[in-house]
């Protein structure tokens, strides 16, 4: 998607060093935890199922990702709550 944006924005492709860095970031995160992208998807689906039972959430916008600090990997779930009383910003 990033590549598409760059294409539309007319920006040049990033240099290969930066591509290597980003690819490695993901590969190492998976290597270190032995959590495959497929397992990550499963986790996401089950997290959505469990939380939806109790709270209204925006299932389409749930993100389950890795975060890296030094040699520690953590699983980060970003789960937007649906707020039924929320009004559009323009009406404020």
């Amino acid at each position: 998607m990033k590549g598409l944006k760059r294409l539309l924005g007319g920006e040049a492709e990033p240099p290969s060093g930066a591509i290597a860095r980003e690819r490695l970031r993901l590969v190492l995160a998976h290597d270190r935890t032995s959590i495959s992208p497929a397992l990550l998807e499963t986790l996401k689906d089950e997290i959505i199922a469990v939380i939806s039972k109790h709270v209204a959430i925006d299932a389409n916008d749930v993100r389950v990702t890795f975060s890296q600090t030094a040699r520690e990997s953590r699983l980060v779930a970003d789960i937007p709550l649906l707020n039924p009383r929320k009004r559009p910003a323009s009406s404020e």
């Binding site: 990033p14 240099p15 290969s16 060093g17 930066a18 290597a20 860095r21 690819r23 490695l24 970031r25 590969v27 190492l28 290597d31 270190r32 030094a70 040699r71």
Partner: protein
């Protein structure tokens, strides 16, 4: 005084473990340290040829382990540097001939009379890597600024950290500053950030390394003649506890790029 045992390893093959071991051995010996370099790559021995000592081998590591000779008989003294010894690997055996406990015993026997024992680990994460790491007080992980080498280095670091070995330090070998500047190679900062271990040295790609290997005379013998030679001496000094700042590497000059001979021409001081 008892020796520090340092294992040089990498995961991936061909990143320069043996070159690093040979040059660090020479650099440390030039700093008046009593050094033994051990070739732990049983079946694929190469440290002997890198050091130019291949014609002087009588016994090897496996002969010592299986009791065919005493440890001292297998050690080859470098005539150029009397403080430097090589314990060669066996060439006609395989890694199953060595157990982790064997390496621990050998190193313990050497600790008394030496300052540094450098072990050149085989590539991979199997038995050879295991026995090479077994006696280590510290580990140097060698990598190249290249995707497969960094990934394998990370794997090795993970295994070593799980076993809670001593400090693990990173050596980035074969860096090409001109590619990094153009963004076409992982930078030192990238690799350090990805692997998240402390850096102890950066060695630039240097064609002199090839001629040094051809001759069996590691670059570290002539300290200031090349950037790579200087880089090895910087690592040796850091191992000795000196604070040596990391200086940015020079790119090959325009003239050097145009005329390959310019480098050797610049060394005549």
């Amino acid at each position: 005084m008892t020796a520090r045992v340092i294992t040089i390893t990498s995961g991936k093959g061909g990143v320069g473990k043996t070159t690093v071991t040979a040059n660090l051995g020479v650099a440390l010996a030039l700093h008046r340290q009593r050094v033994v370099v051990i070739d732990a790559d049983v079946g694929l021995r190469n440290l002997d040829v890198m050091l130019g000592l291949e014609n002087r081998i009588v016994y090897d590591l496996v002969d010592v382990i299986e009791g065919r000779c005493r440890l001292r008989q297998a050690m080859v003294r470098d005539k150029r540097l009397p403080e430097l010894f090589l314990l060669p690997a066996a060439q006609t055996r395989d890694k199953s001939a060595v157990q982790p406990a064997d390496m621990v015993h050998i190193c313990n026997e050497l600790r008394e009379q030496h300052d540094f024992i450098l072990i050149d680990s085989p590539a991979g994460i199997e038995q050879g890597f295991r026995y090479a790491a077994a006696p280590a007080d510290a580990i140097l992980v060698v990598t190249n600024p290249e995707i497969a080498a960094v990934r394998d280095a990370d794997r090795v670091i993970g295994l070593l950290e799980a076993e809670e070995r001593g400090p693990i330090r990173l050596i980035i070998n074969r860096l090409r500053p001109e590619l990094v500047r153009r963004g076409e190679m992982l930078s030192v900062a990238d690799v350090v950030e990805l692997l998240a271990i402390e850096l102890i040295g950066v060695i630039p790609e240097d064609k002199e390394i090839i001629s040094a290997a051809n001759r069996g005379e590691p670059l570290a013998f002539s300290k200031d003649s090349s950037q790579a030679g200087t880089a090895f001496h910087d690592i040796a000094r850091r191992l000795l506890g000196e604070h040596v700042p990391f200086t940015p590497l020079r790119e090959p000059g325009v003239l050097q790029r145009l005329f390959g001979f310019a480098r050797s021409g610049g060394d005549q001081t």
